[in-house]
């Protein structure tokens, strides 16, 4: 697919929980190879926005497209990996069998899928425990398992919902390195965070959400300038 096709485009998106607005007129694009940070307080609408992009919720207004296709079309998620804020995994299952299940949903052929599972498990350092039930995993290992499932199929767009939360400093540094590596591989990354140092280290562009409204959209440099001016 052409590099000119935007991995993600969100145009004038609004959503509300009953009568309570959660997002109002949010618009932004994520370019190929770009690391895009979404920041805001708890309840600002970051996770809701991710859910709209992934088709878990449906926008009242606006348009979301993934790789040029509307996000309502399931095939638009073919090149997307998602890491939710918590490990929503079937704990009784082994990582291997769960990745096999998810790989089948992505239409891998059987031989290719086994190789792919080995690749992602070793990329996150879980190859030794890949056949153990996930209930025996520590919190850090579950986080890695979440990354492994997102990397299955080598997607070009990664959506990471507060990927750093709960990680110790070493694991945080490792994840930062990974994000740099993915960026070098021209993957687009959309991540949310509370930690401003992660934004400073990683992001090319930033969107700040405040009570569902977009209060800042721009480059990291512009954001730093705004922050110096007291807007941060």
């Amino acid at each position: 697919m052409s590099e000119r096709v935007l991995p993600l485009s969100v145009q004038d998106v609004s959503f509300s929980f009953g009568n309570k607005p959660a997002l109002r007129g949010v618009s932004f694009d994520v370019n190929p190879g770009e690391v895009f940070a979404l920041i805001g307080h708890n309840g600002a609408g970051k996770t809701t926005l991710f859910h709209l992009i992934l088709g878990y919720k449906f926008a009242r207004r606006g348009r979301i497209s993934l790789f040029g296709k509307t996000a309502l079309d399931a095939s638009s998620r073919r090149d997307l990996g998602y890491v939710p804020e918590r490990a929503y995994l079937p704990m009784e299952q082994s990582l291997h069998s769960y990745l096999k299940y998810l790989g089948d949903l992505q239409n891998f052929d059987s031989g290719g899928l086994n190789d792919e599972i080995e690749r992602v498990a070793s990329e996150v350092g879980l190859q030794a425990v890949v056949r153990q039930p996930m209930r025996s995993f520590s919190k850090g290992m579950l986080q890695k398992a979440m990354l492994a499932q997102a990397l299955l199929g080598n997607p070009r767009l990664l959506i990471l919902d507060e990927p750093m939360s709960g990680l110790d400093p070493d694991a945080r540094a490792q994840l930062r390195d990974r994000i740099f590596r993915w960026k070098e591989q021209r993957k687009s990354i959309l991540f949310s965070t509370h930690a401003l140092e992660d934004v400073e280290h990683l992001a090319d562009r930033i969107l700040v959400l405040d009570q569902g409204m977009q209060s800042f959209l721009g480059s990291k440099g512009e954001w730093m300038e705004t922050a110096k001016g007291g807007g941060r």
Binding site: L54, Y56, G81, P84, Y88, L89, P90, Y101, D104, L105
Partner: protein, 256 residues
């Protein structure tokens, strides 16, 4: 143009398989199964107390127990499988793949149907053993009856899968079983002077008499293939009806 989209078939099969495995891990369903086994054993003991035609007592008791057990499992599985995945958010990751919601929903139902088939096959095997011990033998009519119970369980599963999208688990099971009760009482309802209620129930619930062979089982009078196919078709149409309604709800449901 390809007649069959292999990717879609693979996705369907994977979700159905995952659902089937999840159901195998559910303790509640084992409880129902073991209670059914116990009652079958009780039926065997009751048959031994009868003088003559012990096999018919076993058959009568066994078919009733197997049917009720399967209906209960169908209602519980339908009420639990999708609801649980939505509540604990394990549906998030499969749905972040290129899988449409209708595909996901339909495959969940297929997985439940497969599990019900396994459950019923095991219970039928135990019933056949009971029949052998009481001097009877399994017949083609008995197997037809079991197949029709399975078909009716498809409808119960489809109904409870739909209801689970907006009702609590316990209420979903109760409503599904009440629906089943109504569908098996079209005959008595027809005799009552209920006016439009009778007509409404006749339209909104399948006629359970289509799935019971009654005396045909005792007297070993199996249905012809045509009659069997007709009853399968009737059950399948009702199941599809509830799947389509459920899908319409699930298709645009905002997940938590």
């Amino acid at each position: 143009m390809k007649l069959v989209n292999r990717g879609l078939v693979r996705a369907h099969a994977a979700i159905a398989r995952q659902t089937f495995r999840d159901l195998l891990r559910e303790r509640l369903l084992y409880n129902v199964f073991f209670v059914a086994l116990f009652l079958l054993f009780f039926g065997y003991l009751a048959a031994l107390l009868v003088f003559g035609h012990q096999d018919r007592v076993m058959l009568d008791f066994g078919v009733m127990i197997d049917a009720f057990s399967i209906y209960l499992v169908a209602a519980s599985a339908g009420a639990r499988m999708l609801r649980k995945e939505i509540d604990d958010r394990t549906a998030y990751l499969p749905l972040s793949r290129p899988v449409s919601r209708p595909c996901y929903y339909f495959s969940k139902w297929c997985g439940i149907v497969g599990f019900l088939g396994l459950n019923l096959a095991l219970l039928t095997a135990v019933l056949c053993l009971g029949l052998q011990l009481t001097g009877g033998h399994p017949t083609w009519a008995l197997f037809q009856q079991m197949a029709l119970i399975w078909v009716e369980a498809w409808i119960v599963a489809a109904l409870s899968l739909w209801l689970s999208l907006f009702l609590r688990q316990g209420i979903t099971i109760m409503v599904s079983l009440a629906f089943l009760f109504l569908s098996h009482n079209h005959g008595p309802l027809a005799l009552m002077n209920l006016g439009w209620i009778k007509k409404a129930l006749g339209v909104l619930t399948p006629d359970g008499r289509w799935f019971l062979l009654d005396t045909r089982v005792y007297y070993e009078m199996p249905l012809h293939w045509g009659g069997l196919a007709q009853r399968f078709g009737y059950g399948l149409l009702w199941a599809i009806f509830f799947i389509l309604i459920g899908n319409a709800f699930f298709y645009r449901k905002n997940l938590q």
